[in-house]
Amino acid sequence: MENQEKLTAERSLEIITEQLDQSRRKVSKTTGQSLFVSGLSTMIMAVVIGIVNFSTKTTFGHLLWFILPLIIWVAMKKIHSGKGYTPDSLVGSLVGKTWWTYSIFVVVFFVIVLVWNILFVSRLLPVGDHAFAIVDPTATIMLLMGMAVAITGHLLRSNKLVWLGIVAGIAAFVWEQFGIGSMIMASCTQSVDFIVRINMALPCLTIFLFVLFGVMLPGLILKKRNL
């Protein structure tokens, strides 16, 4: 691009639009890639934890979630290494801050719930009341994730992302909070042992489905999107 002093208003507008579009395309691609990789890692982790919980008839497999951020961080580092310098755009930094805030909420909420469920509920309440006082973190975490996906969609002006986030977040919350999966499983089999095992693994199925439709699919759409 050479410096030409005689510039028409139309050409000026074209230059501005071109640069802004280029910047938005880059952010969309990077965010799409991040969502895709995070989604894929989360889905694989959900399968592993589901198998652990199903086979041990416990929920201790959920502790493995704590290593997920490390796995995602390593995967992202590998993907971005050798790709050259890309500056932080204002939109990209807002998307990053949205997910950073989401992570803080999830980690703090998860720790509070673990402490409450393991330390307080089992010690303070009579045996029969445990089921009512135990907090299931999956529903709330999925709802928050749906919100983060929808905000990302707004920032990147992608209506598909906004709606996938909203629908997937609310659907996962309803599915998990009202035990729809457990009810379906209970109506399909009479084996108490199987019902107990599947109940330990069901949150992982919810997470798997939510992440597939609410994170990985939007990530793929963003990656492929041509503005």
Binding site: S12, Q19, P87, L90
Partner: protein, 98 residues
């Protein structure tokens, strides 16, 4: 109909491209701006110097590891000038009412 004057500093293809690029970024390195605008290093240096002298952008020269690194950022004055430029540009593009 009177048309507002367009800021002569921004009304140049390369300088406008540089400011349009920086408007959506927190900061950008010289090679990145060169790649995005397709300009030659010499021409880009001259135009960046002009924008910097006018206070529209800041240029920080330092090192990233062992290699030299030139970082450009838009200033609030540059942002204001760009907004005014776009506003003025709009009046050129609006068709006069009959």
């Amino acid at each position: 109909m009177m048309f507002p004057t367009l800021d002569p500093l921004l009304h140049s293809e390369l300088r406008l491209a540089v400011v349009s690029l920086l408007i959506g970024m927190e900061e950008a390195e010289f090679p990145y701006i060169k790649e995005q605008t397709g300009a030659t290093a010499g021409n880009l240096s001259v135009q960046i110097e002009k924008l910097s002298s006018a206070g529209y952008i800041t240029v920080d020269k330092g090192f990233k590891g062992k290699r030299p690194c030139t970082l450009c950022r838009i200033t609030p004055e540059g942002r204001k000038a760009f907004e005014d430029y776009v506003k003025a540009l709009k009046s050129y593009l609006v068709k006069p009412k009959k």
